[in-house]
C-alpha cells in the first residue's frame, strides 16, 4: 500500500469518512519563463503553515476539515518572525531553520548573489491539510494567482511540507 492509500484510509477513519483525493486526468501545461532567471522576480508558495504571529492568526490545526486559508508574507520578513502551524509534520524542527520549508532567507541570498533578478514583494503560505478542495481551487488559490500577477512575478516556486 502506498502513502496515498495509507493517508486516505487514515483520514476516512479519523476525520472525513467520505474523503477521497482530488484527481485530474490531464496535466496543466507549463508556462515558459519569459526572461532569463537572472532577471526573474521569484515568489514562494508554501504549504508549511507559515504565518506571522505578530499580526496574523495561526492556521486551524484542530479542525477536522482543515484550513484552506492563506497568509501573505512580505518579501523582507526576517526568518525569526515566521511561525509554523501545521498538524501534518513536527513544526519544531523547521522552526529552528525556516529555510527547510520556507526558503525565503535563501531566496534573498540568491537574489543578492545575482542568481535571480529579485525576490517578490509578497509570498504565500497555506497549511497543507485541506481535505475539501473546492474552496481552494475556486477561491483562495485563484486569489493568490491574481496577487502574483499583480506583483509581476516571473516564477512561482512551490514548496510542500
Amino acid at each position: 500500500m502506498n502513502f496515498a492509500d495509507i493517508e486516505k484510509e487514515y483520514l476516512r477513519r479519523k476525520t472525513v469518512p467520505d474523503f477521497d483525493w482530488t484527481v485530474f486526468e490531464a496535466p496543466t501545461d507549463p508556462v515558459p519563463l519569459a526572461k532569463p532567471l537572472e532577471r526573474c522576480r521569484v515568489a514562494l508558495v508554501v504549504t508549511a503553515g507559515a504565518y506571522l504571529p505578530e499580526t496574523q492568526e495561526p492556521f486551524q490545526v484542530r479542525n477536522p476539515l482543515g484550513d484552506d486559508s492563506y497568509r501573505v508574507v512580505p518579501g523582507g520578513t526576517a526568518a525569526e518572525a515566521i511561525a509554523l502551524s501545521h498538524p501534518g509534520y513536527d513544526t519544531r524542527r523547521a522552526r529552528q531553520d525556516p529555510d527547510c520549508v520556507f526558503p525565503l532567507d535563501l531566496l534573498r541570498r540568491f537574489s543578492f548573489e545575482g542568481a535571480i533578478g529579485s525576490v517578490a514583494p509578497r509570498h504565500f503560505s497555506f497549511m497543507g491539510y485541506i481535505p475539501r478542495t473546492e474552496n481552494l481551487l475556486w477561491r483562495t488559490a485563484p486569489q493568490v494567482g491574481r496577487m502574483l500577477l499583480e506583483d509581476e512575478v516571473d516564477l512561482a516556486l512551490l514548496v510542500p511540507s
Binding site: T22, V31, D90, V101, L107, L137, L148, V153, L158
Partner: protein
Amino acid sequence: MGLIQRVLDVVGLPTVSLSLVKEMTSLVKPSKALFIEHPFGLTLGGIGEKETHRAVLRDCLRYAAETLPAGAIVDLPYRWPDDLRERQLRKEAH
C-alpha cells in the same frame, strides 16, 4: 501543493514545485514537479544543512528554466540518511 500549482499554471504563471510524495503528485498532475525523498517538514534538507538547501533551490531554478513535457515529475538525487521519512510514510512518525 499540486492543486495550487495547477491554479497558478492556469492563470499563466511559470511554476515549478517540489514533491515529497510522487504518487500524490501523479494524481494531480501539475505542470512540472521535482520529486525529493526528504521527510515531511524538512523539504529542502535538514536543520542547518545550508549546502543541501542551496542545491535543492538551485535545482528548482534550473528545472524552471528547462522545457519539459506537461506533467513531468523529475527525480532529484537527494537521499535522507535515516528512517524518518519511511516512518512518516507509514504514519509511525510525525
